[in-house]
Symmetry: C2
């Protein structure tokens, strides 16, 4: 592979608040050769996800931070270029965690082979991948929506939120989506079949949310935090469930946060309404993955669950992509097309 170079994007500096282009650095290196048991991958799609912002901080979250100078982490769909693992051959398409680079080595045990006939390969990073499974496992295990209940989800046109709303409807619940902008709201109602969609940029957002939830809120799938939380909180019904899988609105702020202190009020409502708040990441529910792949593939195939992708061309544009994602500029699952398949 000596005619190719591996383009990689490393963390140049830890962002102070929102990331800027200077926090990233593009490097080129020789493409490495696989050792025994390894494969050489050419990355086709890189997934950009809100959790990546957390990995750029020095503090340990549920995973270790990315070191300064290291390739930024990320889920990828890749093509096997050269294999020294018995289960893989050149041309296979796999799900890998190769990060922000155009070529990568991987151990065979860390890969999952994809069937390009079953679904477009990019969906392994979205509706049939980590975001879809986050929605599925968190909503069904923690949220437990019942027929007639009201489920609210923010960032609802994104890959997690859109799956949450559609799975809620499959379970007979009302789905209320919150998104930024009229085009996203129209998409939620007209394309995805949400019962209501509310623009959080609307100056009357809290009142509109309340009007959309005349029976209160039974499940709030929390993936944003911030001002949406303040509007949702007073509407929670007794025994409401709140799966927490993301807080994108506060990822760029470190605190301390100015008062008043909202914790005593939260605890009081947790107590007086018997609320359940539970954080999770999808790997907490790894034993549900087979059921997810089977059910979700069928829902996508039959059109019960629809999805939308927002594709950026070229790895060099990934930094702008993640910066935009943290500002809500994407519309659908954000992916970087790193290389063309079989090119």
């Amino acid at each position: 592979m000596s005619e190719h170079l591996n383009t990689r994007i490393v963390l140049a500096a830890r962002p102070a608040g929102r990331p800027t282009p200077s926090d990233f650095r593009i490097e080129e290196q020789p493409v490495p050769s696989p050792a025994d048991g390894e494969v050489l991958l050419k990355v086709l799609f890189l997934s950009l996800d809100p959790y990546m912002r957390g990995r750029m901080d020095a503090a340990k979250s549920y995973a270790a931070p990315v070191e300064i100078g290291a390739v930024i982490e990320g889920g990828t769909v890749a093509e096997v270029i050269e294999s020294r693992h018995p289960d893989y051959k050149a041309g296979d398409i796999v799900l890998s965690h190769s990060g922000w680079q155009s070529y990568a080595l991987a151990k065979g045990a860390h890969l999952r082979k994809l069937d390009p006939e079953a679904a477009p390969i990019s969906t392994a990073l979205g509706v049939l991948g980590m975001p879809g499974f986050t929605a599925y496992s968190g909503l069904l295990t923690i949220g437990q929506p019942k027929p007639g209940e009201t489920v609210v989800v923010a960032a609802a046109s994104g890959p997690v939120g859109s799956a949450v709303g559609q799975i809620a409807r499959i379970n007979g619940a009302r789905a209320i989506g919150i998104a930024g902008g009229l085009d996203k709201c129209a998409y939620l109602r007209d394309e995805l079949g949400f019962d209501e969609a509310i623009d959080h940029r609307d100056p009357d957002f809290p009142e509109r949310l309340q009007a959309a939830c005349p029976q209160g809120i039974d499940v709030y799938f929390e993936n944003v935090g911030g001002a949406v939380w303040d509007a949702v909180f007073p509407l929670l019904n007794p025994f409401a469930r709140i799966p927490v899988c993301g807080l994108i609105a506060q990822y760029n702020s470190k605190g301390p946060f100015p008062g008043p202190d909202r914790l005593p009020r939260l605890m009081r409502d947790i107590l007086s309404k018997s609320l359940t708040i539970r954080g999770f990441i999808q790997r907490d529910f790894a034993d549900q993955r087979p059921a997810f792949y089977s059910e979700m593939t069928e829902w996508v195939r039959t059109g019960k669950v629809k999805y939308r992708e927002d594709i950026i061309d070229g790895l060099r544009n990934a930094p702008e992509g993640i910066i935009g994602l943290l500002e809500g500029r994407n519309f659908g699952k954000l992916l970087v097309r790193v290389s063309d398949q079989f090119a």
Copy 2:
């Protein structure tokens, strides 16, 4: 019953912050006569519990507030004086919810007959009653302590906390109790078998708590809130469970609460540690009551669960009792002896 008067304590005013004696008023009325299906009860023991403070506010919590001029609510053990219900006869001892008064009418369906041979009748208001069931249901259903895990509970010499720690130990977990004062801490260690007991009045309380929990905290049974929460919070392990059944430290404050705002930090930890916070009241788990009565009665009989009562003589002293309870002055389950049995 014309020779007797019913002494009743009514809510004279809604307390601003901590209750004062002038918020209560003692009245005397004729003892009423039971209608068909009712019994007349003479109250023997009145239970004083932290939840009563919430009922004195105008805001609806999980139950409606006590109206101004109305008898204050409360669980009671009473003797049937006159019965017009086929299931009860004079002399029967029953669990009722007769409130702060010396005589009361009750419908038979609202009573539970007690067996004075099985356990002292006062325990129906404590270890074998609502507080014991709060500990049992919240700890086992939400806390789910596993062998070797660390369970922390505050107000640990009280009726809920003492049961939480002892049931945690029955389940093979380490029990760390927090209480106010050296005598209470000694009682927890020496009488109840807690692994450690920490005085929250100690200036080094957070450091001592940390030293007592070298493996972190897996279950925090929240029944106080306030400063204890701040010491517990950083020690929570991934996947920790936090049943919330009380917040006595904040019952006397209305807010708004001064900053900094602790909510974003809480939400971040809920997410990064996959925490579960769930509020409950014991009636949420009503289907577990038969198992509770059976197991807890056996544990008390065999000495695996011990209890302590703090008994005030005379209904007129109930206001001072509840004021002291909210300041942590009681030592054990606080009861008012309203009348002597068979007197």
